[in-house]
């Protein structure tokens, strides 16, 4: 269907879809047309004028409307007198583009000289030096000497914080507007903009806090100079000193592809440390973007002072350091003794390999393998999820997306972006939620319901959804506990199973899990516990990895009292670990190899970026070493082997290997080092695009949560999810710390007024009549009355709708 156009660029013929811009057509055949303002992910603006080319078009006879031919029968090509900008000219049939003529080169050189007149040329102290489009293009096009008097340069502020995350150097800015256009056009947060005009144009922010966007870090990747830098990396290292390790973000189920840049540092005893997290291209997942939580949270925790580096065992009621062998012996002995009554509780940040070993050990001991999550439905996603070949980037006119019980931008930012873009391409977006979320700006339909009425809301799906071609359904657990989430997931699975195209790419369910590998845990056989406290009470021993039920308020100390043994494997001495009999120090995912299964069921590898702290071991290793002591052989050393075992044992993963996960193919736009002027400093993906799991056919044995009373009289506290929470990882981000939200509850203004509460006021919240916790009050007239919305992972343990009361704290008016 696509019309193609054939043209000639610098004597090379290329055939591209009609509508392609000359710069992109050139790029596809390896011809560089330099650009500053143009970015392949944004609309062309023709501002910088760097991409000058000569453009010739076939002369058309006015009478016959046919091309005029010369004596050799070739079309006569007419060149205009003026140079044209390759970023704004669309290709046309028979077009001839010249980029290497003297006229063109002179034109580009002249533009570059103009740009340099107001650039400080402070490359030796600039963070961008070494990966700077302006620096690189100056090498190619810059004048050898400056004709512009140095004294005429404008002196401007060089360290302007645009908020806590991003710094602006006003002198370096060349007004290409990539950052402002990205914020406006791509992510819909126009919180930075130009002030003044002409040579006085400068970037400003008037938002509160400054540069108030969860996408701000991306502007530093596409900045064509060193004007925008992150607080995380500025003055941290020179780009050419950096090594790169491929990874996957561990902050949400999207599985954004990352690159960690590392170098050896004296302060770390000459060891490698991570200097920054950068996006790595995967056009089917995160394109070339990542959110700020991923950028600034995905590794700081691993450098935390309070990392566990030695096993601990309880002696005379006290946790004391122990040798690994001793700790493993005790753990194995105690867990083995609880055969038949073992509770194996895993967190969704464990890798596939970790989970496989843990599940194997649990099965070996007839235990119960439990996933610590608040979103159900992973087993239904395995059957009715997105089939291989799915790419949200393909959704367009005639297709539809439903997002229910989820604030997608806050829970899985990149999915929000991809759905927003689908809407912009013409897809129907339906948001079902009791309140308005940011996605509603892109939605054509909003279905409002009261918390607890999710399923009946499905009866109101618009025709634009029910009659659409490809349909994707995202569901979260806003306002729901596990039982409610399971009910919703089942209803959605029923809905989706009736779709004609279910089973085909870009159709089906996506669970918006809280963790990067929750879907992997479901695929590997983990299931949540409807009542975790009861599960603990019934267990003889518990083996926990990457989970802190006590700290999260999921269980009470009393629930743990009946255990003969509690083994906790973690990075930190969590509240639960502090109660354990054996504590085993695990490695952070940046210190080892492994793989995650994303919410779209894409299995992706992450690679060791930095050496582990001495004394720590990978989770799968620890589990294997316990298993070995219980006569179960599991892979303890090599991640690919652990994965091979997994693939052999678990049907969805059948046939997969690390080699397959590492396959790449040509992606567009081209990004990476040689092309930094074009796509930005996002890393090229040469380490693998991952593989989407095939859908599991046959009868789904749906996980059932017993009906739990999830409605209460009076004011109900219900859980919601916010991106900037105070979870174990986010709270250890040095960079993000000032941006983390206050511990808030959100009330309807009328409820607040009845309680004599106002916005910003401090209050005490009591759950189920329990003791009070201090929170800040926020108001939202868009939420239903009778509910207090409590963000998860913020210290107030609301995991399902519970009765709540609030009272103002005297004299605690916030500033």
């Amino acid at each position: 269907m696509t019309n193609t156009v054939t043209l000639t660029i610098d004597d090379l013929q290329v055939t591209v879809p009609a509508g392609t811009l000359v710069v992109d057509a050139a790029k596809r055949i390896g011809i560089d047309i330099p650009v500053f303002c143009y970015h392949p992910k944004m609309e062309p603006v023709g501002m910088c004028r760097m991409c000058l080319v000569e453009v010739g078009r076939p002369q058309i006879d006015r009478e016959t409307r046919q091309p005029v031919l010369d004596e050799h029968g070739s079309p006569v090509v007419q060149f205009g007198g003026k140079l044209e900008t390759g970023c704004t000219v669309q290709v046309s049939e028979g077009m001839v583009v010249r980029g290497v003529t003297e006229k063109v080169q002179a034109g580009r050189n002249e533009i570059l000289e103009f740009i340099l007149t107001s650039h400080p040329l402070d490359c030796p102290i600039c963070d961008k030096g070494g990966e700077c489009p302006l620096q690189n293009l100056t090498m190619a096009h810059g004048p050898g000497t400056s004709r512009f008097l140095y004294d005429d340069k404008i002196q401007l502020a060089k360290h302007v914080p645009l908020g806590e995350l991003i710094y602006l150097d006003r002198e370096r800015c060349i007004q290409c507007a990539r950052c402002t256009r990205f914020q406006d056009e791509v992510v819909g947060d126009p919180v930075i903009g130009f002030f003044n005009r002409g040579r006085s144009l400068e970037i400003v922010t008037f938002s509160d806090p400054g540069f108030d966007s969860i996408w701000s870090g991306n502007t530093t990747d596409i900045c064509t100079v060193g004007a925008l830098t992150t607080a995380d990396f500025r003055f941290g290292a020179r780009p050419w000193e950096l090594n790169a390790a491929a990874s996957i973000c561990n902050q949400c189920p999207v599985g954004c592809n990352l690159t960690f840049n590392t170098r050896r540092e004296a302060v770390s005893g000459g060891n490698f440390v991570i200097k920054r997290a950068m996006p790595r291209q995967n056009e089917a997942v995160n394109e070339i973007w990542i959110c700020d939580k991923g950028r600034f949270t995905s590794y700081h925790f691993s450098e935390s002072e309070d990392r566990l580096t030695q096993p601990l065992v309880r002696v005379n009621g006290e946790l004391v350091p122990a040798e690994w062998g001793e700790a493993l012996d005790i753990a194995a002995e105690k867990l083995g003794a609880a055969r038949g009554s073992l509770l194996a509780l895993a967190g969704g940040r464990l890798s596939n390999e970790d989970l496989f070993n843990m599940k194997s050990l649990s099965d070996h001991l007839d235990g119960q393998a439990v996933l610590d999550t608040h979103v159900a439905g992973g087993e239904l996603v395995a059957a009715y999820g997105l089939a291989p070949g799915s790419n949200l980037g393909d959704l367009g006119p005639g297709d539809a997306v439903l997002v229910i019980a989820c604030d997608l931008e806050q829970e899985a930012p990149l999915w929000w972006l991809r759905v927003k873009q689908a809407a912009e391409r013409g897809a129907t977006v339906v948001v079902a939620n009791p309140r308005l979320t940011k996605l509603d700006r892109s939605a054509s339909h909003h279905i409002s319901y009261t918390y607890g009425q999710e399923i009946s809301a499905l009866e109101r799906l618009p025709e634009a959804f029910t009659k659409a071609r490809d349909r994707v359904v995202f569901f979260g657990a806003e306002g729901l506990g596990l039982a409610g989430s399971a009910r919703l997931a089942k209803a959605l699975a029923e809905l989706v199973s009736g779709f004609e195209r279910t089973g085909m790419p870009n159709n089906g369910l996506v669970a918006v899990h809280p963790h990067p590998n929750d879907q992997g845990a479901w695929e590997l056989g983990f299931r949540p516990a409807a009542d975790l406290a009861a599960a603990f009470s019934a267990a003889g021993a518990a083996y926990l990895a990457g989970s802190d039920p006590l700290g999260d308020g999921l269980v009470s100390e009393a629930d743990l009292d009946g255990l003969d043994c509690l083994v906790v494997q973690d990075l930190f001495l969590t509240e639960t670990a502090a109660r354990a009999d054996v504590v085993l120090p695990a490695q952070a995912y940046v210190e080892r190899d492994g793989s995650y299964t994303s919410g779209e069921r894409r299995v992706q590898r992450f690679f060791s970026a930095v050496p582990e702290p001495a004394g720590t071991r990978p989770d799968f290793t620890i589990t294997a070493q316990i298993a070995m002591r219980l006569d179960l052989e599991l892979e303890s050393r090599i991640a690919p082997r652990a994965f091979a075992n997994l693939a052999a044992a678990c049907p969805p993963y059948q046939g997969l290997t690390y080699v397959k996960l590492a396959r790449v193919e040509e992606q567009f736009p081209i990004v990476g080092r040689g092309d930094m002027y074009y796509g930005g400093t996002t890393y090229e993906n040469s380490q693998g695009l991952g593989v989407q799991l095939p859908l599991q056919e046959g009868v789904v044995n749906a996980w059932d949560a017993p009906a739990v009373q999830e409605t209460v009289a009076g004011l109900s506290a219900v859980p919601i999810t916010r991106l900037y929470d105070r979870g174990a990882l986010a709270s250890r981000s040095r960079t993000l710390a000032p941006r983390l939200d206050e511990v808030q509850v959100v009330l309807h203004p009328k409820d607040a007024a009845a309680l004599d509460l106002s916005s910003g006021r401090k209050a005490a919240i009591h759950l189920n009549g329990g003791s009070g916790m201090e929170v800040e009050v926020a108001l939202d007239p868009g939420i239903p009355q009778g509910y207090a919305l409590v963000p998860r992972s913020m210290g107030v343990p609301v995991h399902r709708p519970v009765g709540a009361s609030l009272r103002a704290l005297e004299g605690e008016l916030a500033a």
Partner: protein
């Protein structure tokens, strides 16, 4: 003196009052168009008249109207009343003295292209005038000439005044539309052009005030009558704004094709203080400066002839320069203007105007060697042909022609030889 066609208020007292305007045939053309002509016929009438845009570009108005995208609604008409070219002050007089003729032009245009809303985008400095025009529009609504179902034809129209806030660039039609949308006044990429993608992305006709004021007489008296005025390719009357070193500056309505000599010496009273004319800037500060020799003075002021003497007629804002003025001073004035008004969107204009002001300041102060004049000329040449809109091109006209055509004004001290 023949009757005025545009500056009729100079002959008819109180023409800015609706009843007076009506007494003198006001809105007959509008009524004729709406009640007796099809929209396409109105477009054709204007096309045949040969009317060319009076804002500066001289683009055939009827052709622009023909380009309106008929498959997309709503459509808009936007009057460009941003009059900001140094030396231009004609639209202001028309709006002050003969506002209803201008509005009638807007209304006929709206009918011709099927617009039910029109905006009059005025430069912010016209604040007083805008308030007067608000009253005029209210009077039109009250008289049933604006509103719903005009003359019972089903055609509805409303006009709103909109004030800019100080930005020369908003005279560029796409920058004006951006500004009217509440954004920075920075030009858009063209194509697409406003008749297909204009205000709010909808089909839009943007015409200059004077252009629109020409429309009612064309409809009333027919295109043949209109073509009898002026020259074959530049028909019609034109308001020439005369300023600078001239005895009687002001607006003069003359047929296109009148000579510079007639305007400057016959109507403008010549050069004061016994001085001689040295140069002419026919298109305001954006002009290539013409050496005012005898041949130049006898050049007809129409779009083609002025081009033949190495300049452009533009909006016909004739700035007269006498022989006491040195070109380095003049270029300094124009460059500071363009530097101040550069929107900053494209590199050559933003950086080039800034660079050139530094050079000209030193040259004018006698602190630069001759190589700096060459450099100034080179910088101007490097801007040429590379800008996103015309502003950058305008900025270099006086520079390049000032240096080239008045070389004696640029004598600079030879650099002191280093010993």
């Amino acid at each position: 003196m023949p009757d005025y066609i545009l500056l009729r208020h100079r002959q008819i007292p109180d023409l800015d009052r609706l009843e007076v305007y009506m007494q003198h045939g006001g809105f007959e053309a509008f009524k004729k168009a709406v009640t007796t002509m099809k929209p396409e016929e109105v477009v054709e009438e204007v096309f045949q008249s040969g009317l060319r845009g009076r804002g500066g570009a001289g683009f055939p108005t009827g052709l622009k109207w023909r380009f309106i995208d008929k498959n997309n609604t709503p459509r808009y008409v936007v009057a460009n009343a941003d009059e900001s070219e140094p030396g231009t002050f004609k639209d202001r007089e028309i709006m002050e003295g003969n506002p209803y003729q201008f509005f009638e032009g807007v209304m006929i245009c709206a009918y011709a292209v099927g617009a039910d809303t029109a905006y009059n985008y005025m430069r912010g400095e016209f604040w007083e005038l805008a308030h007067v025009l608000d009253d005029k529009l209210a009077a039109l609504e009250e008289a049933g000439l604006l509103g719903d179902d005009l003359f019972g034809t089903g055609f509805s129209l409303r006009i709103h005044n909109h004030l800019g806030a100080g930005a020369y660039i908003c005279g560029e039609e796409t920058a004006l539309l951006e500004s009217l949308e509440g954004k920075l006044g920075q030009p858009r990429l063209r194509p697409p052009f406003p008749p297909s993608f204009g205000l709010y992305g909808k089909p839009t006709i943007v015409n200059n005030v004077e252009t629109l004021a020409n429309v009612p007489p064309i409809i009333e008296k027919g295109w043949q009558w209109y073509k009898s005025i002026g020259t074959d390719r530049s028909p019609g009357p034109k308001v020439f704004s005369l300023s600078g070193n001239v005895e009687k500056p002001g607006n003069y309505e003359l047929p296109l094709g009148s000579t510079f000599r007639e305007l400057i010496f016959e109507h403008g009273g010549g050069i004061p203080g016994g001085k001689n004319i040295k140069g002419i800037m026919p298109a305001g500060a954006s002009s290539a400066i013409i050496v005012a020799d005898e041949e130049a003075l006898d050049t007809p002021m129409d779009y083609e002839s002025v081009q033949n003497v190495g300049s452009l007629l533009g909006s016909a804002s004739i700035i007269v320069i006498d022989d006491s003025v040195s070109m380095d001073w003049l270029v300094k004035k124009t460059l500071h203007f363009f530097k101040h008004e550069s929107c900053g969107k494209c590199t050559p204009c933003r950086e080039g105007t800034y660079w050139m002001t530094h050079l000209i300041d030193r040259i004018e102060a006698g602190m630069a060697g001759p190589d700096q004049v060459d450099l100034l000329n080179t910088v101007a040449q490097n801007i040429e042909g590379k800008c996103l809109c015309a502003l950058g091109e305008f900025a270099i006209q006086a520079v390049m022609t000032g240096i080239q055509r008045f070389p004696e004004d640029w004598a600079q001290p030879e650099p002191v030889a280093a010993d």
